[in-house]
Amino acid sequence: MSQQVPILQVKGLIKKYGDKAVLNGVDLQVEKGKVIAILGPSGCGKSTFLRCLNGLEEVQGGDILLDNQSLINKSTNWRTVRQRIGMVFQSYDLFPNLTVMENILLSPLKVQKRSREEVEKQAKELLERVGLADRANDYPRQLSGGQKQRIAIVRALCINPEIMLFDEVTASLDPEMVREVLDVIAQLAEQGMTMLIVTHEMNFARLVADEVIFMDKGKIHEQAVAEEFFSNPQTDRAKQFLNILQF
């Protein structure tokens, strides 16, 4: 079989806030099934980059192609795109007025208009897999941070996206809860989900990611296979960054 087109391509992405360029020409090719970790110092634009991919931020230049179709034009229906590119945020943000199950079912039922039977079945399976099947009828306020974040991931997965974006999803959690969330993400990686993960968890990135991109000041500074990046960073900036994080 000939080389397949990468499921997601980013070409020269430019994003500005006023005059300030937060993303200064970002290029990236994401193949199906690959896990890419995005690292970098605060303010380098990594969260902004993710948010451009599902239309939460507007771009001023460059292109994003999903399955070779450009998303940067007026006719893009971002609602449809968001069903193919799911996102989980640092601030898990479950809807407080709905139960766990209702949170998960909301989009599949109301946006995708799928049958309740089918969606409930999928939801229950996913909840089993993350170990929270018994919490289906609880309200978010009854859950811990780690539990809420796992539910947020299940909620995103139930929409059956092709790509998952994770924006520093463990940053607000107590250290003891970080592990349970990372386990879920590792599981997804094993199952072949295409993922872009912005994270500060270096060990996790090293183990789970296929590739690492290191961003600084709105550009990709270095890009390499995960193991290569961590054992042998090429650029000074990357070396500096990794050194800082090794006490």
């Binding site: 968001r82 799911g86 996102m87 945020f89 809807f95 407080p96 109301k110 946006v111």
Partner: protein, 224 residues
Amino acid sequence: MENLTFDWQYMIDVLPHYKTALWLTVKLAFIGIAFAIIVGLICSVIQYFKMRVLSNVVQVYLEIARNTPLLIQLFFLYYGLPKVGVTLSGELCGIIGLTFLGGSYMAEVFRSGMEAVTKSQIETGKAIGLSNLQLMRYVIIPQAFSYSIPGFSANCIFLLKETSVFSGIAILELTNTTKNLMGIFYKTNEALFMLVIGYLIILLPLTLFLTWLERRVRHAEFGN
């Protein structure tokens, strides 16, 4: 110094008047508050979505309604309008007045409730594919409602108390009835005692209901 004991027989005799007055007060307050809620919702939605021309109209309305006394609004409606050909019954003036004044207070409460819904909740809603309408329905309105309850309760109580001002335009609600009875029978202590009891009878159940409502809808603060 007059005897400070109450004439209980008198109070029993005039009870029917108070019953009618109480019922009228509750009726007018209820209708006024209901319309005020509707007006408030419309105005707050307009302001929240920053709809260009309408936003300014609403802003002008809010400033006028909040910076003028209800009594003047009522006098203008009841005594002033007939002179230009628009004659409204006292009760209708009362309802319009409450709606006009109350709508502005409700608008403020609902708008700040909507603005209290965090940006990340809205973005999460978008990220799972909800349309703007669905965002309103499943995310913004339920949470805004929860945030608005304290202010909403305060407004309901305020508007109910404002019905006393209706006595200025000859509506036979509680305060006016009391005033008239005092004029006829001079039993001021008894009359005023019953007046205060009358308001308590209305306000206590209302307060209990609002407290119950607040507790039921308190989920928004437990968001994250």
